[in-house]
């Protein structure tokens, strides 16, 4: 009887340990493959040149068009998402602070919104674009991505705001400030690191997403100069160029993947640093 228990215990400890370490191995393997392939292809030309002779057939040049396009779209979308998301998050935590039920219902819907696949946002963005008579362009891409990342900004910022002690609200209101003044002066300041984390997360999601901009941002070899011009992006640069029959073009896809991974890596680690710093200062 006891022997059997011991064996069962050992077996499951081993199994769960095995699951964990094989998982770590798989995940490490992915990163290594991307970097090995990517750094093999990465060169200065890749970063500072646009593709020559067409992104699909021409082997010369780099992915500057995609880097610039991705940054444009991610910055633009993050900017719009901040304009919509931050006031919304503040509203939940300032004006609705006494209505717990409404707060929770809103959070519930926002969480569900976070789960909608980006291809659906893409299809919606495309519909909206046709409806407004626009073409696939930088602007259409920015708007679509903004929809995608606004729930992320709201919920991440909201999560931090909701931990700010309620006494602070009352103290501030008692001193005669209006709700708005309190929201932007007190709450925003208190939740500033949460704001940075939210923005970084949203930016990371925005710069990496491909399905939402597939229909809306288009693709081009050129660097866009106006909002109504199509724009290349890093995820799509990987996607399109990877299926090219020409090896040099595929190299460009690998390079783009390395660049994108580095950007995401930096963003994740910075965001983590910020949220850690926040939780530390919160403890004291």
């Amino acid at each position: 009887m006891n022997k059997q228990k011991e064996i069962e215990e050992l077996f499951f400890k081993f199994l769960s340990g095995f699951a964990t370490y094989s998982l770590i191995a798989i995940l490490g393997f992915i990163i290594i493959i991307i970097f090995v392939k990517g750094f093999g292809a990465l060169s200065l030309d890749m970063i500072i040149k646009t593709p020559k002779g067409g992104y699909y057939y021409g082997g010369e040049g780099g992915v500057l068009n995609a880097i610039v396009g991705s940054l444009y779209i991610a910055f633009g979308a993050t900017f719009i998402a901040i304009l919509i998301g931050i006031p919304a998050a503040l509203y939940i935590n300032v004006h609705l602070v006494r209505y717990k039920r409404i707060q929770n219902t809103i959070r519930y819907f926002l969480d569900a919104l976070w789960g909608i696949p980006s291809i659906v946002y893409g299809a919606f963005g495309f519909t909206l674009m046709l409806f407004l008579g626009m073409n696939a362009s930088l602007l259409a891409g920015i708007i679509t991505v903004a929809f995608l990342i606004t729930p992320i900004i709201i919920r991440t910022f909201d999560e931090v705001l909701s931990t700010i002690p309620k006494g602070l609200h009352e103290a501030s209101l008692a001193l005669g400030s209006t709700r708005t003044e309190m929201a932007f002066k007190v709450m925003f300041k208190q939740g500033f690191s949460g704001f940075i984390t939210a923005v970084l997360l949203a930016f990371g999601r925005g710069i990496g997403d491909a399905a939402s901009i597939l229909f809306t941002a288009g693709y081009t070899d050129l660097i866009p100069t106006h909002l109504d011009e199509p724009a290349a992006t890093l995820p799509l640069a990987i996607f399109f160029q990877l299926s090219s029959p020409i090896p040099e073009v595929r190299e460009r896809a690998y390079a783009a993947a390395a660049i994108l991974t580095i950007i995401i890596l930096i963003i994740s680690l910075t965001a983590r640093g910020f949220s850690k710093k926040y939780s530390k200062s919160n403890l004291k």
Binding site: P117, V120, T178, A211, F215, I238, F239, I264
Partner: protein
């Protein structure tokens, strides 16, 4: 001076409310927009026919979605079968058996992996998984396969969902009070028995929700799957054959969407199905989570 402050308060209060209303009405607006765009297709075929028919010939006006729905379900179920046990055991190990150091190390790793874009997982799939399926797995059971298959899609999708599900599972297990484990141990249970009878039982709603949300994420995932799944309209239970999930259908054909009549409606219908399925799964399981959290 005071007037100006009151006015500013009103103005910004209104703006804050408007933004919140915009974002909360977003799923409804998306749903309505997609439905309206898809509605012409209902005039030629009934909803039932659209879903169960296997005849997909857009040029003849026949839109049977079953092959796509089938592929989506197949890939999703496959990925779930790969990812769920690994995630469950890893989460148990990390929260119950491992040292604190390991779990502290794992947190940023999981974060980073959750942040890596879908297209990069797809690229990894093309470089590693597709050849692995065609050169290693298929010969093993004497089958010829290009590697671009349901199986490859399932594996890549599983790897993508792992950080997402693992994160939720760890959170769930961490909410089990340590006193409960102490109680079980003090009654003479081994640590595995405590996990089996108490920790897992207590986390049941959380585990189910994590799995549900993981499935929803897998169901809506586009690029990573599309890059390795082969994209051929066919019905086959053989995982070494190519498939064609719904998101891939939309992503692959948007270019010609406007040149064939009703094609755009069909694709928007596909997007509508995705929206409804994913939103419903999300709402159900998140309700579960919110309910248990408020208790």
């Amino acid at each position: 001076m005071i007037l100006k402050r009151v006015f500013l308060n009103r103005l910004s209060g209104t703006w804050m409310l408007i933004t919140l209303v915009i974002i909360l009405s977003l799923p409804l607006v998306i749903g309505i927009a997609l439905y309206l765009k898809a509605s012409p297709i209902f005039e030629s075929q009934s909803l039932y026919q659209l879903i169960v028919s296997t005849d997909w010939s857009p040029c003849n006006g026949n839109f049977g979605f079953w092959p796509f729905i089938f592929s989506s379900l197949y890939v999703t179920v496959l990925s779930f079968l790969f990812a769920a046990p690994i995630c469950l055991f890893a989460a148990i190990y990390l929260t119950q058996f491992s040292s604190k150091r390991l779990i502290q190390l794992m947190h940023p790793v999981i974060d980073i992996l959750a942040g890596i874009p879908s297209v990069i997982y797809g690229m990894w799939g093309i470089i590693i998984i597709v050849p692995f399926v065609s050169d290693v797995l298929a010969p093993l059971i004497n089958i010829k396969s290009s590697g671009y298959s349901i199986l490859a899609g399932g594996i890549v999708l599983a790897v993508m969902c792992i950080p997402y599900m693992l994160n939720m599972l760890i959170e769930t297990f961490n909410t089990v009070p340590i006193g409960l484990k102490e109680a079980s141990l003090s009654l003479g249970a081994t640590s595995w028995e405590s996990v089996k009878h108490v920790v897992i039982k207590k986390s049941y709603p959380g585990i189910i929700s994590s799995f549900g949300l993981g499935i929803a994420k897998a169901f809506g995932e586009t690029l990573a799957v599309m890059m390795v799944v082969g994209n051929m309209v066919q019905l086959s239970f053989n995982p070494f054959e190519a498939g064609y999930p719904l998101p891939a259908l939309i992503a692959n054909n948007y270019g010609e969407m406007l040149s064939i009549p009703m094609y755009d409606s069909a694709l928007m219908f596909a997007a509508f199905i995705l929206l409804v399925v994913v939103l419903v799964i999300n709402l159900v399981f998140r309700y579960f989570i919110h309910k248990t959290q408020s208790q």
